[in-house]
């Protein structure tokens, strides 16, 4: 019985450590400048920025850490993503709660969508949002349709309940479906 408990403990340990550690924002040792003067055109939809290849390699997030998902949710609100995507239900922008992914559901796809922008309204946030935060937002966006571990996904907000909390969402098997958006 005890051995079993120890085993359960160890199993939880392996999952637990990573999932709950709070990696507080640190200055990246040799990170590219997020606020370079390269970027031009203020929040123009669909403008492709430069330097995409290097940024995907500086990925700092595996989408399973509860603290980073919660930070992503906070930033989603602060940066007014909900202005177009509502709380994930969609509005001016496409819904994020369903399983339809116009530009792909892989973290790299979502990262690219945020950084580059997409036609028909999605602006580019390159240089607007630091890389590490973009990854937090990516993780959070995936949690909206249940693609993050439930034990790490955020709970309800202290706000008006519009949708079910992320940690109750069932995983919606993603379908990459290019569409009108």
């Amino acid at each position: 019985m005890r051995a079993l408990l120890v085993l359960i403990g160890l199993a939880v340990a392996l999952g637990g450590c990573d999932r709950e550690e709070r990696k507080l924002a640190k200055l990246p040792s040799a990170a590219p400048s997020p606020a370079t003067g390269e970027r031009r055109g203020d929040l123009q939809p669909g403008q492709k920025g430069s330097g995409l290849e290097q940024t995907t390699s500086s990925r700092s997030f595996d989408g399973k850490n509860a603290f980073e998902l919660a930070q992503g949710k906070r930033l989603f609100r602060w940066y007014n993503c909900s202005g177009c995507h509502s709380m994930g239900g969609g509005g001016m922008g496409p819904a994020l709660m369903d399983n339809r992914w116009i530009y792909g559901h892989e973290p790299d796809d979502i990262y690219r969508t945020i950084m580059e922008g997409r036609p028909n309204g999605m602006p580019s946030f390159r240089g607007r949002i630091p890389d590490a935060q973009v990854w937090q937002i990516v993780g959070y966006i995936r949690s909206i349709s249940g693609l993050a571990p439930k034990a790490a996904a955020p709970g309800r907000n202290d706000g008006l309940a519009v949708t079910r909390p992320e940690n109750e969402r069932e995983r919606a098997t993603p379908r990459n479906a290019p569409g009108s958006g």
Partner: protein, 222 residues
């Protein structure tokens, strides 16, 4: 120094004789061989244990009801954005619960008479009632007009109803286990005391329902 005592303030009355219920003095000792080996009601330890559990659960219910009215004081309208729960199923269940006190009382009386046949007749009826009110309870949840995550009103009524439902389920399980035991054995006299105490707990579950029913179904109407 003497063996008899000067009066103490709390125990001013002279101590009554210890030779009660069959305990007798045997030389330097008090022989308790002839005492009964179990008791009913306040005599029984399990009765006190049950009373303790009822005090705990009663406090939980009371606290939940206080939370209900506290939240109500914070709200501009009540219930929040939904109509009050429909009365049909809740009222029906109140009647079933009250009616269930009758077979429950039969079981208790039979147990106190050590009437095994009587207990065996009453307990299945109790269980039938339990099944009935658990089924009706399921319908009650549908009449709340809201979900637990609709708003704080939804949360608290679901919690109140959920808490009481937990008691229905445990009481059902207790009674079922006891009923099986009364049919299969092994039996001893103490089991009759258990049946009687289970009946006390049942009464508690029924009586606790009345204020909860009032809070859930009638408070939002006033």
């Amino acid at each position: 120094m003497s063996a008899t005592h000067p009066p103490y303030p709390l125990g001013a009355a002279p101590a009554p004789s210890l030779e009660t219920r069959g305990a007798v003095r045997a030389g330097d000792a008090l022989d308790v061989r002839a005492l009964p080996s179990y008791g009913f009601g306040a005599s029984s330890l399990m009765w006190w244990g049950t009373l303790g559990v009822m005090a705990i659960e009663g406090t939980v219910f009371a606290m939940a009801a206080v939370a209900y009215f506290y939240l109500r004081t914070q709200a501009d309208e009540w219930p929040l954005g939904v109509p009050p729960p429909k009365l049909l199923w809740g009222t029906l269940n109140t009647l079933i619960l009250l009616a269930s006190a009758i077979p429950n009382q039969w079981a208790k009386r039979a147990a106190q008479r050590h009437d095994l046949e009587g207990v065996r007749r009453a307990l299945p009826i109790c269980i039938a009632f339990a099944v009935a009110f658990i089924v009706v309870r399921a319908f009650e949840f549908t009449t709340l007009e809201c979900r637990w995550d609709t708003n704080a009103y939804g949360s608290i009524v679901w919690m109140l109803l959920g808490l009481h439902t937990t008691h229905l389920l445990t009481d059902f399980a207790d009674t079922a286990v006891l009923a099986v035991l009364m049919f299969t054995g092994p039996l001893e006299g103490k089991r009759f005391a258990d049946v009687a105490e289970n009946a006390v707990y049942w009464d508690f579950v029924v009586l606790a329902w009345l204020p909860i029913y009032a809070v859930i179904y009638w408070a939002p109407r006033f």
